[in-house]
Symmetry: D2
Subunit: 355 residues, 4 copies
Amino acid sequence: MNTIGKLFTFTSFGESHGKGVGGVVDGCPAGIEIDTEFIQKELTRRRPGQSIISTPRSEEDKIEFLSGIFEGKSTGHPIAFVIWNKNQESKDYDHLKDVFRPSHADYTYQQKYGIRDHRGGGRSSARATAAWVAAGAIAKLALIQTGVDIKAYTSQVGHIAVNKTYEELDLTQIESNIIRCPDAETAEKMIEYIDKLRIEGNSIGGIITCVVKGVPVGWGEPLFDKLQARLAAAMLTINATHGFDYGRGFEGVHLTGAEMNDSFTKVGEKVTTKTNNSGGIQGGISNGQDIYFRVLFKPVATISIKQETLDKELNKINLEARGRHDPCVLPRAVPIVEAMAAITLLDLYLMRIRG
Amino acid sequence: MNTIGKLFTFTSFGESHGKGVGGVVDGCPAGIEIDTEFIQKELTRRRPGQSIISTPRSEEDKIEFLSGIFEGKSTGHPIAFVIWNKNQESKDYDHLKDVFRPSHADYTYQQKYGIRDHRGGGRSSARATAAWVAAGAIAKLALIQTGVDIKAYTSQVGHIAVNKTYEELDLTQIESNIIRCPDAETAEKMIEYIDKLRIEGNSIGGIITCVVKGVPVGWGEPLFDKLQARLAAAMLTINATHGFDYGRGFEGVHLTGAEMNDSFTKVGEKVTTKTNNSGGIQGGISNGQDIYFRVLFKPVATISIKQETLDKELNKINLEARGRHDPCVLPRAVPIVEAMAAITLLDLYLMRIRG
Amino acid sequence: MNTIGKLFTFTSFGESHGKGVGGVVDGCPAGIEIDTEFIQKELTRRRPGQSIISTPRSEEDKIEFLSGIFEGKSTGHPIAFVIWNKNQESKDYDHLKDVFRPSHADYTYQQKYGIRDHRGGGRSSARATAAWVAAGAIAKLALIQTGVDIKAYTSQVGHIAVNKTYEELDLTQIESNIIRCPDAETAEKMIEYIDKLRIEGNSIGGIITCVVKGVPVGWGEPLFDKLQARLAAAMLTINATHGFDYGRGFEGVHLTGAEMNDSFTKVGEKVTTKTNNSGGIQGGISNGQDIYFRVLFKPVATISIKQETLDKELNKINLEARGRHDPCVLPRAVPIVEAMAAITLLDLYLMRIRG
Amino acid sequence: MNTIGKLFTFTSFGESHGKGVGGVVDGCPAGIEIDTEFIQKELTRRRPGQSIISTPRSEEDKIEFLSGIFEGKSTGHPIAFVIWNKNQESKDYDHLKDVFRPSHADYTYQQKYGIRDHRGGGRSSARATAAWVAAGAIAKLALIQTGVDIKAYTSQVGHIAVNKTYEELDLTQIESNIIRCPDAETAEKMIEYIDKLRIEGNSIGGIITCVVKGVPVGWGEPLFDKLQARLAAAMLTINATHGFDYGRGFEGVHLTGAEMNDSFTKVGEKVTTKTNNSGGIQGGISNGQDIYFRVLFKPVATISIKQETLDKELNKINLEARGRHDPCVLPRAVPIVEAMAAITLLDLYLMRIRG
């Protein structure tokens, strides 16, 4: 339900147009410096209104901590926080009250719960992910101390893909453009394409690639807490995601065993692998190599193009969205992918320390 | 760790060359007829030695139930079972005792646990999946009563793909050939290709597509037990898997929102969607349409072609596998995918009944 | 850690002198009317400053809901709430910053976490139970619809005990006096005794009895979610508790099997038991009879009498409490016992609905 | 349900007259020497037929390990085991098939599940505890390495109580008599009393005291995994238990705060407390002092004295037990209490290692 993790847990709450979105982080090791500036910066990376290719809604996404921090440090007790909703214009959504928008959660929520906060998508709104980013930022602060570094970027928008591996890219350039693609040339094409769709009232999806460096051998708990399984679940939780692969994924389906296998070798006294098609994971456990994976996002379901659908009384209606929305969520989803990766990894890190 | 699920749980145990593999299924509703013939049939679909394209090891995979069944029916208490190991030839593996086989779990297990049962892969062996299939068969028996039907098939082997959607295929033909591909023509090409690689001592992966019919609206628990997240985790738990997508997945990355959105409509009084690009899931909850997803398998890591690697003392060595292995796990993985889907769906079914 | 329950879960947060205490309730069935007046009334039963025998601290304990409620009803999504801290006088606690108060959590928290919010007991303060009462009130609102009624009362203070069974008492009289004991005569003695100890700067514990009526047959999940085990865990979580028994407890240790056994019989067509020494639970499952149990509370550890102890540097010091405290927590603990019972029972109620 | 624990988990299965009882232990640290002789010895302490005051059923209770052990050591993977049933005489129980025995689980199981394995109590039989003792023995083997020592003994049978604290007793004498009471004189009286009741066909309960030495400061996770709450839940899971207290329990209810509080002091450089009324736990966390607690057992429900009750068709009937049963379970429950304590403590030990 709304709590993820075993030792490092995150409980999420909040709706798009309620008081706010927030969460409770439990199991954060004591004594971690809670750098609120860093957390705020992460929130700002996700917040809407950053550029022409994201929604003009301008949420401030200011975080307020309620507990678990004493003299700037985590106490080992639950860290609760709220990101207050400020810019809600609920009446903008009145016309959607009784509508089942195509490919949204309106219909399934209504049928499952019999009641639904329709304002701005209510609980199913991507606004909830602001809290995930905050929780992820706390996880990052704890992980940094272990030497782990997590970086995600937009690697594909619609048919426009970066044709380089993450190793061929300069990941320090991710934040240098509004699509968060470290390949400047491709970034430009992506932005142009999104802007064209934006003007049409259409939307587009794509792929985010995430690279985790610095995870030592041994994270991940077979059988049912395998590292890739936990990452996949975390990623498929993010709104609009439709797929996940790690290491050589779907595009490498043609490879034979002889081509795919990663031979072990030594560099000095350090064990490494000649190739890293396994994406840093073998038998569900990190092997010390870079972990990398991809997350597929479908296009935002909210578009301004007229669509046929049903209302609550099951009358056929025509729908034209008037809410403020993103033509492409990818750039804002980059910090969300990183956050969910951090939440997952910190939990597996804590689980592995035994005996 | 080794228990999956919340209300319907499955605890797995066993190694390739120990006494046996098995498990404990807990939370199975009481009064379900435990059709042991059906369970045995499912096990037989997974067992090795079925055809020329699978390993010649011929495990009998006979299941023995230890508890939880009374007069042929589930009692609501834990159903424990063992599939005894019979055909172990542990000495076949003596030469692997100190070897870190490329892309196997040898290295990560050794580093994580400091001890490792090397015989036939020990705990990391795919033999453990025999028990998963048994647990899944029990879940299927409970799900059948709700009208749910799960069918998986091999949709791609290496570069050879079925070029039809599942709706264009006759899924009753899945079991009509040894690769479990319902498209006879493609099946033949797949088998030929695998046999060629088998002779070379090489291996190949591919994709299994799974289709679930009959799930009503309302299964799946946002936020962190979303249907697709739980399915992804279950699939990425299966040995050798590297990817998952559902509905229109990676191959549909170029679609715009206008193309991807599923409009709601009515057929008679029944709500349905004009298209089903969402794969039967919206907001993490089943919407009453078919659920379909794909699982990517890498090639079997065990090949007979010479490979460089390290041994436990970190000496460089050359390795030539002599164990009995599959050139392609896809056909045997079909029932495993179905089993993990069934385990996941039954749990979410039970979780949804409230109030 | 800080989340309790499986389907109906409660995540607790907050410190005595932080921003506030609160929680997130997850798994509350949708469509429950969230009667905030009732919840506030429950909070008022727990709040300090109610009478001469409780602490003069006068916390307002005003609850603010942050999510999960729409048009007055639960939506099936997390209900987060905060009870803001208002009356904190943190400087009152400055002299305790480096002191390990006897029988408090100061020492264990300091050693375990290496950091400690000492203000008013911080996280270990009973102030956190305000949030439990709120969560319990929500659980009560859901349980009422199933016909369950939970009533607790003070049955013993120090050596002064009610010499009647709950069946011989008029439970509507619980709230008629400040000690919450339905036996007026005993209540008076208890109050006198507490007041005497209050003047001395001393404190006293006692026993709360809780009676749950209306639970039908079938709640409780053997083996490890037995009704009595879950209740015991919930009760032993409450600050200052030291014991739990149900049905005929410690005082009936001398009974033989022939005396203790509850014979089944019929009243009309309804199955009942001639006696109810089992306290309404058999084999870990409710049997349809009244559930009753007792919870032992030790005396409040904070007293105004001089005590020897250590400070953080392990110097011996003399301590005289100056904070505001209760000479006896029993009356304020009555609603806490009820709340934890409600949280436990609702979870087991939801878990039992299967197939 | 049938799995207990978070990191060190135990999944229980089996019925009295099925194939056997057993379990799966998961999360046992790797590299622990699995001393099967020790485990067998623990099982022998619990097995029936040990003396005239226990049931004459003579179960062999021979354990067979199925997985998780390699070359005598734990591998970090699930340890599954079975204790095969051998001495079942199911026809002995035919006359109980349709009977709801007083104070047994027959009625609640039948109503909850609609189906019931009546043979020898089926799943609700105390025979299941053989597997718990085995799991507990494994936990003990892991705990021994941390210096923890767990010892339980019979401290009261009916009205006959040991009038000494555990510190005044010689705990090495526990196994020196058949009632497992270290006070020889009291033991004799207890045995006489039980034997008298045995001849009458009656039964009696009592109290087991458990003492845990060597737990350092810091075990136990507030809020909802407090050490005493976890212990209480574990103890109240044991068949026939009705109560739990720790430190100064119900018998100390008259103590004031000034009497109950444990002052901190130093012995050399070691922090200790002058008294240990807290039973080694403060704020839910171990404080380094001895942990001690009591568990109340009701009399065995199976007696040979005629009792009125109902059958499945709700006809009134007279019941005279003919099965083989214990007049007092206390001596055989001693190792069960220790086992459940060990399972609980190892889990909390593993949970505490962080960052």
